[in-house]
C-alpha cells in the first residue's frame, strides 16, 4: 500500500487526469470535503498533495496544490478546501463545483510531509486552522492500517464553529484508540473549556506533546506564522530539527 504510491511515481511522469466530483461533505460554513473519482489512481500516503487545475472557457487556467484529507481508497481522492474569500480557486471549489463536474488533478505529489505506517515512532501532529487537513489524512491512514503507533494531535482553531472534522475528532471511532486530541481556541472557546482563548504556547506543547526523549516525529501545518512559532518552540523543547516536519500555507495558495 505505502509502496504503491512511491513505485507508481517512479515509473512515469505525472500527467493531468480528469477527476469527477462524486461526493461532497460540508465541514463548516466555509469548508467542504470533495471526493473525486480518478480512474487508475495509484494510491497515496497521508500528507501528500494533489495539484488541481481549472480551465475556463477562454483557456485561462488556475492551478493550486491541495492536501488530501483521506487515505487512498480505490480511485477516490478526497481533498478538504477552506474558502479564502478573496481567493481565485477556493470560492469556486467551496461554493460552485457540483457533483458530476470535472476538474483536472495531478498527483500524488510530495514525499517530505508524509507519515508512513511502517514508521514505529510516536507522532505529534500540530495543526493551525485548515492546516489540520493533511494531519487528518495521517490519522485516517493510521486507522486504515490498524496501526497502534501513539498519535497526539494539538489542534489550534479560532472558534468551535471553525473545527474541521469535528464529529470524528470529538467522538473518535474505537480504531482511533491511542490518538489523543487537545484543543487550543484562539478567539472563542466553547463553554466549559479550560483556559481562555489564546495562541498556542510552549506550555501547550509541553502539556499535550511528547517529551523529546521519546524521539517522536512531529508534523506541523498551518499558516506561516503559526508554523514558525510552533517549530521554533519544538526545537527549543529539544526536538531535533530533522524530526520537526513543517508545511506552510498562505493566501497565495487560495
Amino acid at each position: 500500500m505505502a509502496g504503491t504510491a512511491i513505485s507508481g511515481r517512479l515509473t512515469g511522469r505525472l500527467v493531468w487526469q480528469r477527476a469527477t466530483l462524486l461526493a461532497v461533505t460540508e465541514e463548516t460554513a466555509g469548508a467542504r470535503s470533495l471526493a473525486f473519482e480518478v480512474p487508475g489512481w495509484p494510491g497515496h500516503l497521508g500528507g501528500q498533495h494533489v495539484d488541481l487545475r481549472l480551465t475556463a472557457d477562454d483557456g485561462y487556467t488556475a492551478q493550486r496544490s491541495y492536501s488530501m484529507s483521506a487515505p487512498a481508497g480505490g480511485d477516490l481522492v478526497t481533498i478538504t478546501v477552506q474558502r479564502v474569500d478573496d481567493g481565485e480557486v477556493s470560492p469556486y471549489l467551496v461554493d460552485q463545483l457540483r457533483i458530476g463536474d470535472a476538474v483536472e488533478l495531478r498527483g500524488p505529489v510530495g514525499g517530505w510531509f508524509v507519515w508512513r505506517p511502517t514508521d514505529p515512532a510516536p507522532v505529534l501532529l500540530v495543526g493551525g486552522g485548515s492546516g489540520v487537513v493533511p494531519l487528518m489524512a495521517m490519522i485516517r491512514a493510521r486507522r486504515a492500517a490498524g496501526s497502534r503507533v501513539p498519535f497526539r494531535l494539538i489542534y489550534s482553531v479560532r472558534t468551535p464553529a471553525d473545527v474541521l472534522f469535528a464529529r470524528e475528532l470529538r467522538q473518535p471511532p474505537i480504531a482511533d484508540g491511542g490518538l489523543d486530541t487537545a484543543w487550543v481556541y484562539t478567539r472563542e472557546a466553547p463553554a466549559g473549556a479550560a483556559g481562555l482563548p489564546h495562541r498556542i504556547t510552549l506550555s501547550d506543547l509541553t502539556a499535550h506533546g511528547w517529551p523529546a526523549d521519546l524521539e517522536p516525529m512531529c508534523f506541523v501545518c498551518g499558516p506561516t506564522g503559526f508554523v514558525e512559532a510552533v517549530a521554533t518552540a519544538l526545537v527549543d523543547l529539544g526536538h531535533p530539527a530533522d524530526r520537526v516536519k513543517t508545511e506552510r500555507f498562505g493566501p497565495s495558495g487560495s
Binding site: L14, G107, G111, W112, T224, T246, R248, F249, G250, S252
Partner: protein, 83 residues
C-alpha cells in the same frame, strides 16, 4: 506571506523522476542547508521563486512557458537527493 517548498512537488515532478522536495539544498548565498520543502516559496505567477529561510537569497526559480520550463538553480550550491 509565503508558501513553502512542499507546494513545488507538482511543478518539480514535471522535470524530475524523484521527489526533489525531500532533497536538501545548500544555499549559494549563505551556505545554509534546508530541505527543499522548507524553502520559502512565492508564486505561482509569473513563476515560482524559492528563497533561503536563512538569508532570503533566491535558491531556485521555475517559470513555465507555453513550450518549455525554465529551471534556474544558480542560487543552489548543491542538492542532496535521497534515493
Amino acid at each position: 506571506m509565503a508558501l513553502d517548498g512542499n507546494t513545488l512537488a507538482g511543478p518539480l515532478s514535471e522535470l524530475f523522476a524523484v521527489d526533489v522536495t525531500a532533497a536538501v539544498s545548500r544555499c549559494a548565498g549563505c551556505g545554509q542547508q534546508d530541505a527543499v520543502a522548507d524553502l520559502l516559496v512565492y508564486g505561482p505567477d509569473p513563476g515560482w521563486v524559492a528563497r533561503c529561510p536563512g538569508c532570503d537569497s533566491v535558491v531556485l526559480r521555475i517559470v513555465r512557458g507555453p513550450s518549455a520550463v525554465w529551471l534556474d538553480l544558480h542560487g543552489s550550491a548543491a542538492l542532496r537527493i535521497p534515493l
